[in-house]
């Protein structure tokens, strides 16, 4: 990233709503756009992607946004693909601790953001039985899909209640990505529903994420 990029600070005036669209890291105060972060200021004219049914007037103007120096998204939102570790399984649901955001864990949750006192920290989340697979959801068994310690890729489907986010793995590319066998060995995905321990040759059933 070029170091001569303009830096904007919170409260810095970036234009009016007449001239620009408001982007990430900015806010509007009586018709004027101000920065709300300290970071690199970017102005993009590529607004065509946001064209689905919105007011047409917003399309022509450039949108200003400010990105954090770390570039990181800090919180999971609905639709965010996350990576986490299974902390508990029960008959109806599996508990997941979200440790990184993005399909490949691009944004690691900083330790400071983890919940205090929990195992390993991270944002607590739940994968309900009916959200594990897309098909035959009534036949899914949680215990045959996840084991404690599995690393799982999932998508946030709801902010949930005060305790946990709700996540789903009901897509091909979602599910267990890393698993350790009962003998403590790293396993390979063998099929869409099985991991195999290379040392013992035994298979264990999982909801396997389709390799990218």
């Amino acid at each position: 990233m070029a170091s001569n990029q303009p830096i904007s600070l919170p409260g810095q005036h970036l234009g009016t709503t007449e001239t620009s669209n408001v982007g990430a890291g900015t806010h509007i105060q009586s018709g004027h756009i101000y920065s709300s972060l300290a970071g690199a200021l970017t102005s993009s004219t590529a607004t065509t992607k946001s064209g689905n049914g919105k007011k047409p007037t917003t399309k022509q103007r450039p949108s200003v946004s400010v990105t954090r120096p770390s570039g990181a998204q800090l919180l999971p939102e609905v639709g965010t693909v996350v990576v986490g570790r299974i902390t508990r399984t029960g008959p109806r649901q599996a508990n997941l601790s979200i440790l990184a955001l993005g399909g490949n864990g691009e944004h690691v949750i900083s330790p400071a953001a983890s919940s205090s006192g929990g195992d390993g920290g991270g944002f607590p989340a739940i994968i309900r039985q009916q959200d594990i697979r897309a098909t035959e959801i009534d036949k899914v068994k949680v215990g045959e899909s996840f084991r404690v310690g599995d690393v799982v890729r999932a998508v946030v489907i709801s902010l949930g209640d005060e305790k946990a986010y709700y996540c789903s793995t009901a897509r091909n590319e979602l599910g267990v990505v890393l698993a350790v066998s009962e003998w403590g060995n790293q396993m390979f995905p063998a099929s869409w529903r099985e991991f195999v321990d290379p040392a013992t040759g035994l298979g264990e059933s999982r909801k396997v994420a389709k390799p990218a």
């Binding site: 490949n104 864990g105 983890s114 003998w183 290379p198």
Partner: protein, 332 residues
Amino acid sequence: MANGMEATPMLLFSPAAFAKLTPVPFLQAHLKQPTPTRPNGRSAQAFRQPTVNTGSLTHSDGSAVVRVGNTAVVCGVRAEMLLASDIPKPPPTSAAPEHCIEELGLLVPNLELSTGCSPAHLPGNPPTSLAQSLSHRLKSLLHSSNILDINDLRIDYTEPATDPDVPDEEPKTVTKAYWTLYLDVLCIALDGNAFDAAWGAVVAALRNTLLPKAWWDVDHEGIVCSPLASEAHKLSLKDLPIPSTFAVFSTRSPLKQDEDAETWVLADPDGFEEAACKEFLTVAITQGRNGKGSILKLEKEGGRCIGATEIRQCAKLAEARWSEWEIALRGS
């Protein structure tokens, strides 16, 4: 990065993500490299360089800021007066002087982690068990190393030859009061191995401490101190005990043969390594005038992976580490 992770070729996780998701295999993969290098770039035996600054706190009689890597610790020494008449159970005069400090409780070390130094120790809660155990270990090392001289802390009064009527009735010296040293250690940033850093700060602050000249004042019936810095005296520290902490990382598991397991000893573990390890060893070394190190204290907790050989190696490393600290403390 690739080694150890070939089992899952489809993943494009960044090192940071791997470290977060699977800390133990991540650390193992690093150590398995031809030249074992830890994720923080250090070799297994490498310590972090300590830096020491003293005397920066205005309201302390002695103070120090010690930084070891990303762990930063501030220690302030506050001296207060304990009147001999207030002591409920004075130790017998015959008691060995080296036990006096402990008996009287003249050293009050407290290590505080609830300063926001780490998300695991947020304020608003009572001291965590880690904070309590660190305070206790500091106290125990202070006492067992016998670092302070009770004579530095004693305020004596020689009773004058009283009335001429009473023929010289034992013109003796009595101890009227003791200095009590409050050693408040605040961890400002925590990234593993708080004990070594905290101890360094305590020693540096004690070396920096100036106690006012104090005497028993008959008219006032109390201890009066001189405000002049020129009359104050430093503490004479007997020697310089330095602890070095090691973490033991092992792949040993109940499901495997012990022979298959690999073990590494990591000097001066950082926060990530501390979380991935279960076994720790602290060797406290002191060095006499002859330049020969001697082990003052060995503390070992958790696990059963290292034996006498490894401990001997650690002691050797700790001896080398002593010199590093000595230079850092001398420079401050």
